[in-house]
């Protein structure tokens, strides 16, 4: 290494006039870092849960701030030894990426024990520290390069952004070629190419040789070491759905495809059973479902979604016992639309119920490809070739919003949901199929008398998702039919199983209500709402209070809030065995009901969960919803395109109270984690920002004027830029139907156009005082406009073929992205011109810190205030940057001095 460094040092003393090869190298290394980010996210998504990957990766980006602080503190040293330091950092990226990933597989943390097992949080920390290392090396390299190319900042920044952006596209394509267990090869290849180009640009031949050796060792080590050392490529949690399929004695993978849409695998096993929401009465009303009837589909190891084999006619009575059969009870020979194909069970139910035609939408091309594969064709009897079936290859919601076709039945059953609790919690993900706007599209696409049927899992106690669904459907129904909505709804649920809501265009008739009620009774499901249902709200407040106390009470409230079991006074069932522990005269027990323990007890008349659901519908359709929602323990706001989240149940005001009982919120950990990420990011970022203040304020900055303004300026840019980027990724999922694709396209488009913007900014450097404020103002106006008008535009784009969608989305981002590339380049160049070298280095770190804070803040702003608010907040950040920019332009009192103290 010494030879390498000395050789390099002799060759080129400075980077003030970089050549094309330098720019290419910087672009490739920046691209490698972005690619590594996405790759690590994929490793987490497949091995454990993606939201933990987000946590680790977003915090790892603090490496940029950390490197900035170190370079700041040792600026003099880095100025002198920049080439050796850059070489070392560059050569370390690959080995550290490989080593960290390998070691991380030996310390997998188990999300489900995060609260109960003290060791797990240290394992999570170990994962974070491990994955921080390669990013830190990359950040050092880029930081040093920026330091040494101050006067050419705009161009180097262009290379950095464009390289990162194009790498996003490279990764997108690579996700078709590399499975998650080999995906890190992509950043390694980019890094290897970038390193070699870098050394070649300096003519440092020994370094080239060293680079080749290190790259070859890294890549071969990545691919071979796991096998040699007996360490898994990716340590897949035993609690992932697919791990169970692998544990079944006859579990066998029959299909796999890897793509940006995820790692889709299908397993066959006789041990798989799938009947989502099956009526309990099926046990006595239908023949046994034949064995070995299903295969399980897993996406990134989560699942299964059941794919049913083609049933014999005699066995098809099975469908009658599924809740998705509801609309067909009153609709004979309907023209049916299935919003999401998924595993195909709704489609089979629709065909089985005698639909004259079934139009089915599936926005994930990989699902359709799987069903067209000979293996799954064989399993399903080639369901896609069924003559009555028509397949739409994009989002059903968008199709219905743009079609003139009308349907008798529109079905949205258990889409995007595997039903079983996800032990790692659920990520904050957008569920655009369930929003108020989506519901309105479905309602408009119904023929007169047509029925919209929505089935959702009802596995939560206290109820959460189902109440959000109810309020969403009710909002849409009252918008669609302001006077008659109360006659348009029929809702049922099955305790800790499923709920189904029917909306009928034009309202239900008496006969239909009776038919549906009879069917409900025959299935032992609970009526939650039907037109004309009597409602007794006398116990409503108590249910609300009890639910709040059950979650946030001290545990002793049980005795205070307990009500006599509804059946406590009922005569004992004569067939029940005697219970010696039951003493009817004893004080009511706050927890278990010993008197009711033995068989024969039919339970209470109405369970609190059912009562809550009835209260909800009554309030939604007749008034009083605001108060009820306010008093309920969890958030029940309707889903909208602006806030399309089922997750985030915990009300913001209740967050501090969750800390001593996190185990109760395991299904909402995705949401709690983003708060944790934000908290950690803020604390760490504050430390990194303050360190230079503590150690260098007087010495370094005493001669630099406009310090606070400069800090504010770069903080605003960091926050604003990342909020637009992350906020738009969520938004563009509407049109692109997949978060990974959306992320790749958005990252590419934003960075490439911003790169061009930074290059173009050279032309305004000299007139920055007048032009840059205008640019910032334009960014602000554009972001506000996007916030208000993006939604309908994306809806239209979503109906085009996929390649066109990709192109349009790529271009749609370009105007703000182009302008957003200018402020950073302009201000950094001016800092360099004014000789504010320490501020130059520090600004880079501040920008990095606030990028991390911004990315953590986006999901919080989005869930609390909506995705439009994310863009509005970003717009405000750019607005604040206008006055702050003038502080950047303030000249130094005297030339900057070297940091003596450091």
């Amino acid at each position: 290494m010494a030879a390498v460094i000395s050789n390099s040092r002799l060759t080129v003393p400075s980077l003030e006039a970089p050549r094309l090869a330098h720019y290419l190298a910087v672009g490739l290394i920046a691209g490698a870092i972005i690619a590594l980010q996405i790759a690590v996210m994929r490793v987490f998504a497949v091995g454990s849960w993606s939201h933990f990957g987000s946590l680790v990766v977003s915090l790892a980006m603090l490496g940029f701030s950390l490197s900035s602080v170190v370079i700041f503190a040792g600026k003099g040293w880095f100025d002198r030894h920049w080439q050796g330091a850059a070489t070392a950092a560059l050569l370390l990226i690959g080995p550290l990426a490989v080593g960290s990933n390998l070691v991380a597989q030996t310390v997998p943390f188990n999300a489900i024990f995060l609260v109960s097992d003290p060791a797990q949080k240290w394992r999570l920390l170990a994962n974070f520290l491990l994955y921080l290392l390669p990013f830190l090396a990359g950040a050092f390299f880029l930081g040093i390069v920026f330091l040494k190319s101050r006067t050419a900042f705009g161009r180097v920044y262009f290379a950095d952004l464009t390289g990162s952006g194009l790498a996003g596209l490279v990764v997108l394509v690579s996700l078709y070629l590399f499975a998650p267990e080999t995906i890190i090869v992509v950043p390694l290849l980019l890094w290897a190419a970038g390193s070699l180009l870098w050394f070649l640009a300096f003519g440092a031949w020994k370094s080239v040789v060293a680079g080749v050796v290190v790259a070859a060792l890294s890549i071969s080590g990545y691919l071979m070491l796991p096998g040699l050392l007996g360490i898994p490529d990716i340590a897949v949690s035993q609690y992932k759905g697919v791990a169970y399929a692998r544990n079944f004695p006859d579990g066998k993978r029959i299909y796999r495809s890897v793509s940006p849409f995820g790692d889709l695998q299908v397993y066959a096993s006789s041990y798989m059973h799938f009947a989502p929401g099956l009526s309990d009465n099926a046990a006595f009303g239908m023949p046994e479902v034949p064995a070995n009837t299903y295969v399980g589909m897993y996406r990134d190891g989560d699942g299964p979604e059941g794919i049913m084999r083609n049933l014999a006619p005699a066995e098809q009575v099975y469908f009658r016992y599924l809740p998705m059969h509801y609309p067909y009870v009153i609709k004979d020979k309907p023209k049916t639309f299935v919003v999401q194909f998924g595993g195909g069970i709704s489609t089979q139910a629709a065909l089985n119920a005698g639909s004259t035609s079934v139009t089915v939408a599936e926005s994930n091309p990989m699902t359709l490809r799987a069903f067209r594969d000979p293996v799954l064709k064989d399993v399903t009897g080639d369901i896609l070739a069924e003559p009555r079936l028509k397949v739409i290859d994009y989002d059903g919601r968008l199709f219905l919003a743009n079609t003139t076709e009308r349907y008798d039945v529109i079905d949205l059953s258990l889409a995007d949901s595997v039903g079983l609790s996800n032990p790692g919690g659920f990520a904050i993900s957008e569920k655009y199929a369930y929003t108020r706007e989506a519901m309105l599209s479905y309602m408009h696409a119904l023929a007169d008398g047509g029925v919209l049927s929505i089935t959702l899992w009802n596995k939560e106690e206290p109820p959460k998702s189902v109440l959000k669904l109810y309020s969403t459907v009710a909002e849409a129904a009252t918008t669609f039919d302001p006077k008659g909505a109360a006659n348009d709804i029929f809702a049922v649920s099955s305790y800790l199983s499923t709920t189904t809501v029917l909306f009928k265009r034009g309202g239900f008739t008496e006969t239909e209500i009776k038919t549906l009620r009879d069917y409900t009774k025959s299935m032992s499901w609970e009526e939650v709402y039907y037109p004309g249902m009597t409602y007794d709200g006398s116990g409503a407040q108590k249910v609300l209070d009890d639910y709040r106390a059950s979650i946030f009470g001290s545990g002793q409230d049980a005795t205070l809030t307990q009500q006599p079991a509804a059946d406590a006074t009922a005569p004992a069932n004569p067939t029940a065995p005697a219970n010696p522990d039951c003493d009817p005269t004893a004080p009511a027990d706050p927890t278990l009901d010993a008197c009711a323990g033995a068989g024969g007890d039919a339970g209470p008349q109405v369970l609190p969960a059912t009562e809550m659901q009835r209260m909800t519908w009554h309030a939604l359709l007749t008034g009083g919803w605001g108060k009820l929602a306010g008093d309920y323990v969890f958030d029940t706001r309707a889903l909208s395109n602006d806030q399309p989240y089922f997750a985030a149940y915990v009300k913001v005001a209740d967050l501090p109270r969750t800390l001593d009982r996190l185990d109760l919120f395991q299904d909402d950990w995705g949401y709690l984690l983003i708060w944790a990420t934000l908290g950690i990011a803020c604390v760490t970022a504050a430390s990194l920002v303050l360190l230079p203040v503590i150690f260098g304020w007087r010495i370094v900055f005493s001669r630099s004027r406009g310090k606070l303004g400069t800090i504010l300026y770069f903080a605003c840019l960091g926050l604003g830029y990342i909020m637009v980027e992350v906020g738009l990724i969520s938004r563009f999922t509407v049109a692109l139907a997949n978060p990974t694709v959306s992320a790749s396209v958005l990252i590419s488009s934003m960075l490439v156009f911003s790169g061009l913007g930074s290059l173009f900014a050279e032309r305004i450097f000299d007139r920055a005082r007048t032009l840059l404020p205008l640019v910032l103002l334009a960014v602000c106006v554009l972001l506000l406009a996007y916030g208000f008008y993006l939604s309908p535009v994306l809806d239209r784009i979503g109906a085009y073929p996929y390649a066109v969608r990709l192109l349009l989305c790529f271009l749609l981002v370009s105007p703000p992205a182009f302008l957003m590339g200018m402020p950073m380049a302009t201000a950094m160049t001016w800092l360099a011109r004014l000789g504010k070298e320490h501020l130059f280095v520090w600004a880079w770190g501040i920008n990095g810190c606030f990028s991390v804070i911004g990315s953590a803040a986006v999901p919080i702003v989005a869930t609390s205030f909506g995705l439009s608010a994310v863009l509005q907040w970003a717009a405000i950040a750019y607005l604040i940057a206008i006055p702050a920019f003038f502080a950047v332009l303030l000249p130094s009192k005297a030339p900057a001095v070297r940091l003596v103290a450091a």
Binding site: N110, S116, D117, P232, Q238, A243, Y244, N247, F248, P249, Y271, H273, L278, D280, A283, F284, E288, L420, S421, P423, G425, K459, E460, E461, P462, S494, Y495, L496, A549, S550, S554, G555, Q556, A558, T561, A565, A566, D567, A568, T575, N579, D581, P590, T591, L592, D593, A594, G597, A598, G599, D601, A602, G603, L607, P608, R661, L664, F665, Q666, D667
Partner: protein, 289 residues
Amino acid sequence: MKRRDFLTLSAGAAAFSILPATVRANVPVPYDRNAEVPFNDKKSFIDWMVANRGEDPKFLAQRFDRFQIMVYNKDVLDDRNKRAFLLTPREEFVLPQNLGRAYDHAFLDIGYGVTISGPHLVGRMTTSIDVQFGEAVLEIGTGSGYQSAYLANLTDKVHTIEIINPLAQRTRRTYDGLVERGYSEFGSVTSRNADGYYGWESVGPFDKIIVTCGIDHIPPSLLQQLKPNGVMVIPVGPPGAQHVLKVIKQQLADGTFNIVRSDIYNGKVVPFVPFTKLEGDQIVGTHNG
């Protein structure tokens, strides 16, 4: 199974087989189903257990501490369940690395993506189905074996099914080892490696069924194998915040059946069990134990 997986599992099994050596005790007095276990004070309990069951006083002390909290939280209500909890050596059913946390208010990993439920949940769920001596009980999802071991102190007809073969074998070995050491009550636990979805028709019907695996519907076979007015319980939800679904096969006057879903609290909204611990002689709440 991949070779690497096989080696990993074998290593795990080998490691587990070492476990009993550290806590092994031979039962000095034959099991007496009617023996009265003192549960009013810790010392008497430990002395009695050491004399009659030959168990490690360290674990006995932890068991009694947990027991006191469970009584306080009403996780166990009646004497038979109290006795069953106190007589079941939970430490025999956890992984070696979790021995120190055997009696924590927590679910623990036992490998294969399976957990052993916290003692409070096992106590609550079993108390709620009120198992009488002689009743046939079926457990779907043997897992660690702890639940069935507890049940073996309540009835002599315990049947348990595990779907994951190596886990089923491991737990069977645990039972066999314990029986060999004198825990004759576990001899009444019959276990098999099979798909619990279809129940165990040849030994059914059952008075009570406990299902401890994730399902998206209640298997029809299990409802068929439940006796009239029989009770089934199924924990639903994430491990830390499970809610227990109670299903009753109600026989109507005309002989037909009606399936009634409820929870084990029969319509009461009950606070989640707080994390509680014993500090000296004081039980300290709430969740933040």
